[in-house]
């Protein structure tokens, strides 16, 4: 038995998604604007509620539990809101500076290791020990790093052996960019597949998907024939 709430969510979600795809029609569409602005509205509303809940659960509950230092967080939060009041907007600089400084301090302390030192360490590998697969893998990393780094030797004229090395490094980078593009495409296709799959599994959803596609397409054609597509689309 299909739950009424689930059915409503499915119908609204499917219709708005198909409205989003109306951009493929090639003209400005009020249906696209409807879906876009609905999404922004829903997402903003949800974000506000969830963030207020976070403040309550982390801040209020903490203070009530005796963690008085959290009061400073509230004071700084209120000070940050002064940004919207031009006359006293300078008050907001202090909490912004503190939060930026804290974030930067937290990130810098650790990012140097995870994003830099550890990455360099991971390229220092045993080249002669281990099984054949590991040796090939380690040599590949070692050679690729050396060849690609040589491409960035800007203080030396790139000719002779350095030039050859830089050229090979350049092509290796093209190959890795190709792999990254392929992964990006895989990701985008997965998003599309996941979105459409949401409207095809379980099978009772399929007729709703087809109906929404037909309704949106019919609406687009009708609005286009009546020259209403541009007129009804809100300006940016």
């Amino acid at each position: 038995m299909i739950d009424t709430v689930e059915l409503s969510i499915m119908v609204v979600g499917c219709f708005l998604s198909m409205c989003m795809f109306s951009t493929l029609y090639g003209k400005s569409s009020p249906l696209y604007s409807l879906a876009e602005e609905s999404y922004i509205g829903f997402a903003t509303g949800l974000s506000i509620v969830m963030n207020l809940m976070y403040i309550y659960n982390t801040g209020f509950v903490g203070i009530m539990g005796g963690d008085w230092v959290l009061i400073f967080g509230f004071i700084l939060g209120v000070m940050a809101l002064f940004r919207v009041y031009t006359k006293y907007s300078y008050v907001s600089r202090l909490p912004i500076a503190i939060s930026l400084g804290a974030q930067l301090g937290l990130a810098l302390r650790t990012q140097i290791y995870s994003g830099f030192i550890d990455q360099i360490k991971a390229t220092i590998l045993p080249l002669l020990s281990g099984d054949a697969k590991a040796i090939v893998y380690n040599w590949t990393i070692f050679l690729c790093v050396i060849l690609m780094l040589s491409f960035f030797f800007y203080t030396i004229e790139q000719k002779g052996s350095i030039g050859v090395s830089a050229k090979i490094g350049e092509y290796l980078m093209y190959a890795s960019f190709g792999a990254i593009f392929a992964q990006t495409f895989m990701g985008r296709l997965s998003l599309l597949v996941g979105t459409i799959q949401n409207f095809t599994v379980p099978p009772w959803k399929k007729p709703i998907l087809i109906a929404c596609m037909a309704i949106v397409l019919a609406a687009l054609i009708a609005l286009d024939k009546l020259n209403l597509l541009e007129k009804l689309t809100p300006e940016e």
């Binding site: 963030n51 990012q111 995870s114 991971a122 998003l191």
Partner: protein, 279 residues
């Protein structure tokens, strides 16, 4: 001939989107059951999950918006199902407001497995909701868990749950990150870097960013996008959204390869020749 090549070189890009949309929709509506193979990285991920036991405590972080969930839902559901089968204790945390509804979807998808293993809320699993909005929140949870997190998603105190045994990062057996990249760096920096074992299920565009952390040893395993999720479903013997999407996924890739070939024929046959003629 030249007009065909010109068409290949200059066709409207919306044709690509429309063709992909139609291919994906048709394949999802009428799947044909193409075979899939399991990659070594998924095997590695599966081995980490297989090694879990009833004494293990897992922090599963949904580092995703709702759109990203569509891509990695198969990996999330399959991973948490294995954790339940291993009877590990699971804490689900969220790093994006949009993801607060996802734990309910995941838990309802594996309800039969949870019932089979008599999973009890509080004792075996806890849903925290949106607790990681920024790096500072992740850092404080890693350092002083109960100082940073007081309530679960439903507004109840986490005291009296299995989270009483958690004091800091070192009390977690595994950090399982499902990510579009929101607080992943923070988790790496404040949990992984300190030594908490981490595994990750990332969306396609994140894989090239996440993969180097496998070599550094911070990640024990990486599950790649929807494809990895489908492979994990295959390994665990529970077909789900990943496997049912693989036909559309595979044919979508074939279509893209075809379009790239057509575009290249157009480029070398028309655009480049036209350029040469002008010169």
């Amino acid at each position: 001939m030249m007009s065909v090549l010109k068409h290949f070189a200059e066709y409207d890009r919306r044709i690509v989107y429309l063709a992909l949309f139609l291919v994906v929709t048709i394949m999802l509506m009428t799947p044909i059951g193409l075979p899939i193979s399991v990659s070594p990285s998924t095997m590695q991920y599966y081995d980490v999950l297989e090694a879990l036991g009833p004494d293990d405590r897992i922090l599963a972080v949904l580092n995703t918006e709702f759109s990203g969930y569509m891509e990695i839902q198969s990996g999330i559901i399959a991973s948490i199902r294995v954790m339940v089968e291993k009877e590990a204790k699971i804490c689900i945390a969220v790093a994006h407001p949009e993801a607060t509804g996802i734990p309910e979807l995941v838990l309802s998808a594996i309800k039969s497995t949870m019932d089979e293993h008599q999973y009890t809320y509080g004792e075996d699993y806890v849903v925290l909701g949106y607790v990681f909005p920024n790096e500072a929140s992740v850092a404080s949870a890693a350092q002083d868990w109960h100082g940073a997190i007081h309530n679960d998603f439903y507004g109840n105190s986490i005291e009296g749950t299995f989270l009483d045994e958690i004091n800091d990062w070192s009390d977690w057996t595994l950090i399982s990150d499902y990510t579009t990249g929101i607080q992943t760096t923070a988790l790496i920096n404040h949990f992984g870097l300190r030594g908490a074992p981490m595994i990750v299920n990332g969306i396609g565009v994140e894989i090239s960013i996440l993969a180097p952390y496998l070599d550094t040893g911070i990640y024990k395993a990486l599950l790649q996008s929807m494809r990895g999720g489908a492979e994990l479903e295959y390994l665990t013997g529970h077909p789900g959204p990943g496997m049912t999407a693989m036909d559309a996924f595979t044919i979508g890739h074939y279509l893209m390869i075809l379009l790239i070939v057509i575009g290249n024929i157009g480029y070398f046959g028309y655009t480049r020749n036209a350029g040469r003629n002008v010169e």
